[in-house]
Point group: C2
Chain length 338, copies 2
DNA sequence: AAAAACAACGCAAACGTTTGATTAATTTTG
DNA sequence: CAAAATTAATCAAACGTTTGCGTTGTTTTT
């Protein structure tokens, strides 16, 4: 029995009033009398009336939907972030649609286009590794679709974004190692193309020079983030004339490769490793990093979502300021496991 | 400059033809002449015409959207599964909206309702731990919204589902341990309320009896899956008159707790642990499980999505058969790390 | 040459809801 | 008591697209 969903028209027909009255009645519009309003609501309830969303969206030209484009949902960081986004969205009665760029620029462009055609009310984006042009986002301006970037953000300020201060986080990390007595600290950084690499390097340099030490460029090496690349970086440090006693890795994956390699060489105890948190259970490792930079994906997602919802609701003024939100990251020192 | 999106009407006005012709022209309808068709397409292109999705959805009563409801996106298994779902959906030009039940029955009911109101074309669901009633899904039948369950499925056959055969997987796991020479094998199972617990127990029993051994019920204990619960289960086995030499844990989290506890007690080398894969990096642990049951979340997501899209496209026949798809799970034996 | 077939397009309704303008009935006010 | 204000409801248009049916001309078939 194919029950067609109840419509406003249907209710109007039964009650012998006009559809507009029903609509207004359901919305507590003042120009509908109390008695009629109650009759409407009761009948609506008993008929299991549910507003036809598609019709409303169409009518209002709003979709109550926000799009999320991110590189890889299977990365723990993003799965937490989108989890937060969804939690926030549902509170405000918004729906989330999402898609993955798989770190591919062309795919990202397509997805932005698709989201636009889906008429999302706003977009949350963590850009792909490949992305260095941003026309596809600027295009959204003319359609009045606000965009908030999070975590992986473009390298300029005149956009809305939420991100972690990797620079200050790195300063904290290096300071921590310096306080522990380390005097030669290596850094396995990411590719030079990434803005995140730059931030890490800057933080490293600042911490070093602030502590009146000399910055040795050969202690910071770039890495393609693969296992092989990590091994090469490790070898570089093992053969270094000022062999480091501590190493800051670009992320937990690199840390994992590094620890694995060092254990194989049986030199793991010669090093303290500090990483940036990606993997929730890395602290369960026997020789886990002594500290991790926590980037609070849930918080980032939450803030980004709220900013976007703000932008959607605020009448767009031409000269509005840009939200440039920095989430402070913290250095989490791993307690010694017993 | 608030450019209003181009509409079919607009194109019709400019070309001095009717909107219906424009619509038909854009869709290569045979009753539109080749010249007019080209004129239409050219103008549409030059005006950057994009169909108004909301209008089409409304008109057709279809949303080209599938909903996904799952317990926790931050669980690795589900983040992989939904990643697959999205990949499949986008191939067929469908959009995915999702929401998390956070393993809460009431929330799940609400979300199903919401998805229905959003007029999703179909629903993919992995049910929450709390769910033992299924009225909220049955209700969707009358609205002709197909539902495909995956991984966490209801305990009956007259629904569409994709799941892993935990029973056969458990048989493989226990067989493997028996072949390794273990004669007393413990199992830390989940709560009795879960169907998955039942399957594991059945598999365990089958493997034991098939090998002409006696099934000892006290070697299978239920556990609430917390760290504390795991420790209690561990103690039970440590004090067991036939102390097991191998333990099958409900999942990687339990395995993690167990290994941690055994290491603390310094008895880790007395046990082989076999687990069910949840955490991608657990094999990096020093005393990682000797084997893991791989449940192929990507494959499950992929199959579930394809089945759902099939159902959406097939005209619903009353007496249609149910897809009961079992994804064979495999026992992955961890290579010895050096 | 009349009938039939066809090609190319327009008309109008429909999908369900919202909303500004309007009307009708009632009540208040000076 | 007439005019003004208030209340309660209706009307009709609009949002953009699709689609069954009807209407032209034109071409082909008998």
């Amino acid at each position: 029995m194919q029950s067609k969903p109840t419509t406003i028209k249907e209710i109007a027909r039964i009650l012998n009033i006009s559809p507009s009255s029903v609509s207004r009645g359901l919305h507590d519009h003042p120009s509908i009398g109390a008695v009629t309003r109650e009759k409407i609501k009761q009948l609506a309830k008993s008929l299991n009336y549910e507003p036809n969303n598609a019709a409303i969206l169409f009518q209002k030209g709003k979709t109550y939907t926000i799009g999320v484009i991110l590189p890889e949902l299977s990365e723990h960081f993003f799965s937490i972030a989108i989890s937060a986004i969804e939690d926030e969205a549902i509170k405000k009665n918004y729906t989330v649609i999402f898609a993955q760029s798989h770190d591919n620029y062309d795919q990202e462009v397509k997805l932005v286009e698709k989201m636009k055609n889906q008429r999302v009310d706003g977009l949350l984006v963590s850009i792909s590794k490949d992305t260095s042009k941003f026309d596809h986002f600027e295009k959204l301006n003319s359609f009045n679709i606000p965009v908030v970037f999070f975590d992986r953000i473009p390298p300029f300020k005149n956009v809305h974004y939420v991100a972690c201060s990797l620079e200050s986080a790195t300063i904290k990390a290096v300071n921590y190692l310096l306080k522990k007595g380390h005097r030669s600290i290596g850094m396995i950084n990411g590719p030079t193309t990434l803005y995140a690499s730059e931030e890490r390097k800057d933080g490293y340099m600042q911490a070093i020079t602030f502590n009146r030490l000399k910055f040795d460029p050969s202690l910071v090496v770039n890495c393609d983030l693969t296992e092989q690349g990590t091994i090469e970086a490790a070898d570089h440090f093992l053969n270094h004339k000022r062999k480091p006693t501590a190493i800051v890795t670009f992320n937990d994956y690199v840390a994992l490769f590094l620890i694995k390699y060092f254990k194989k060489l049986n030199v793991i105890n010669d090093f303290d490793v500090v990483s940036y948190a990606n993997l929730p259970i890395i602290s369960y490792l026997d020789n886990s990093p002594v500290a991790s930079v926590e980037q609070y994906p849930y918080l980032q997602g939450q803030k980004a979502a709220n900013i976007l919802l703000d932008l959607i609701h605020s009448p767009n003024s031409e000269n509005q300021a840009y939200y440039n939100t920095i989430v402070e990251s913290d250095l989490i020192v791993n307690e010694v496991k017993d």
